[in-house]
């Protein structure tokens, strides 16, 4: 499967997961395209489409928490930001993703 086909497949799969969680793809199409490109590349390298903006460690359990879409593992954190960490997904009511910022979980009193 070439990269474009895989991107389309990931979009289809992710949509099914994020919709019931109250999220949608970011309206920033360039960002979405770039992030999906990175995920296809990460999937080719590691076998799994990890988040392009979070670091992998030797801890497999922790790594599994950053498999895209990782919203269920970081629900409180992402809900507070109205976006996921990399910005691929935003809350359904978000029209301008540029207004949202990455807030470290420690600032929100969590971990």
């Amino acid at each position: 499967m070439n990269a474009d086909s895989r991107k389309r497949a990931l979009r289809f799969l992710y949509q099914k997961v994020i919709d019931p969680l109250g999220y949608k793809f970011s309206p920033d199409h360039d960002l979405v395209e770039f992030l999906l490109d990175q995920e296809v590349m990460l999937e080719r390298k590691h076998g799994i489409p990890f988040c392009p903006c979070q670091g992998l460690t030797k801890n497999r359990e922790e790594n599994m928490k950053i498999v895209c879409p990782c919203i269920p593992f970081h629900r409180d954190h992402f809900d507070a930001m109205k976006r996921c960490w990399c910005g691929l997904f935003v809350h359904k009511d978000v029209t301008n993703p540029d207004e949202l910022r990455q807030i470290p979980v420690t600032e929100l009193g969590g971990r």
């Binding site: 392009p52 903006c53 979070q54 670091g55 950053i66 960490w85 990455q102 470290p104 979980v105 420690t106």
Partner: protein, 88 residues
Amino acid sequence: MKVFMYALSTCPWCFKTKQYFKSHHIPFEYVDYDLQNETEQERILKEIATLSPHAMGFPIVKIGSQVIVGYNPEKYSELLGLKNSVVA
């Protein structure tokens, strides 16, 4: 003030952060965590843990003794005394 950044080569926010420092002519150093070998990654992880426990979300920027997790141009400007400049 010394500026150092922990980045991922796959992260667009890390790219934006690098662009921010370049466009403001701020000298900075960085390391792409994901492009390092295993030994170096472990060393970086320990370093990050001392700066910001539980943070594996990139970018992680150190300006002087301050640590900023996530892309935050307003904060960079504030710490660098560029408060009124237009941010990238």
